[in-house]
């Protein structure tokens, strides 16, 4: 089965990104396809590469980046939600005249159309949020 994932709450504050990660890992292990994960609302904050959690805690962004590299999952961060919250890739930082960018490897910034497209193209859309 083709499963699309929506993560709509922020990391560490909320379990959504953790549960989604575990769900996606289990789904892939069971032979399902997860072509894309879409990050919306505070979920966009998962993609920051500047997160430094204590060493004895899980590193949520790095878990997702590793998953994307290993399985080719397309990790998409909503551009409108990201810009509100100070999440910029190198291109957007330059375009907006900002002096830094913070999107981690494996994630890309794109529009809400990617969420709708995921809903159209997958068999199930599973939301992790509140």
């Amino acid at each position: 089965m083709k499963i699309g994932i929506l993560v709509s709450e922020g990391p560490y504050t909320h379990q959504a990104a953790d549960s989604a990660y575990k769900f996606v890992s289990a789904a892939l292990a069971a032979g399902h396809e997860v072509p894309r994960v879409f990050f919306y609302h505070d979920g966009v904050n998962v993609a920051t590469r500047l997160s430094v959690p204590p060493q004895d805690e899980r590193h949520i962004q790095q878990q997702w980046t590793a998953l994307a590299k290993e399985h080719g999952v397309d990790l998409v961060v909503c551009i409108a939600a990201a810009q509100r919250r100070g999440m910029l890739d190198a291109n957007e930082a330059e375009r907006q005249g900002k002096d830094a960018n913070n999107i981690a490897d494996g994630f890309r910034i794109s529009g809400l159309g990617q969420l709708i497209e995921m809903g159209i193209q997958t068999d199930r859309l599973v939301t992790f949020g509140d």
Binding site: A80, A81, G113, I116, I120, L125, T127
Partner: protein, 135 residues
């Protein structure tokens, strides 16, 4: 693109206080370009999103309620509002804004897009949807 799917946007939260309602509307507006079968459901505090006379001057947040009235222009024709949620909050249909769309199958007559329905009917709408996005 494959077949048309039934998209349902479920709005559960008050329009202000959190960003969910605004960012839900942003998805609806983008999604309207994809020519899918779109419906919105308003339940719990989500019914406040459609109330008349919203004024956000005191909270420094943009009043986005006029945007709902534009949904008809995006060919969004089904806004289901749960009657029980209205009643539990002392509201009735008279407290809601008007949203109309032009019915291309009926000589472009203007028709109301807001339908106040029972909790059981909302349940049926959810069960019949292919993709449910909950905000």
């Amino acid at each position: 693109m494959s077949d048309v799917k039934k998209f349902l946007y479920v709005n559960r939260r008050a329009p202000y206080g959190t960003i969910y309602a605004l960012e839900s509307l942003e998805v609806v507006l983008i999604g309207a370009a994809f020519e899918q079968d779109v419906a919105l459901a308003f339940v719990d505090d989500g019914v406040f999103q459609l109330t008349k006379g919203q004024n956000t001057d005191g909270i420094g947040v943009k009043n986005f309620s006029p945007t709902f009235r534009a949904l008809g222009d995006y060919d969004v024709q089904k806004l289901f509002v749960e009657r029980e949620s209205l009643e539990e909050r002392g509201l009735s249909e008279d407290d809601l804004i008007e949203v109309v769309y032009e019915d291309e199958d009926d000589d472009w007559e203007e028709k109301p897009a807001i339908h106040v329905v029972s909790r059981a009917e909302i349940s049926d709408v959810m069960a019949g949807a292919d993709v449910v996005l909950s905000f």
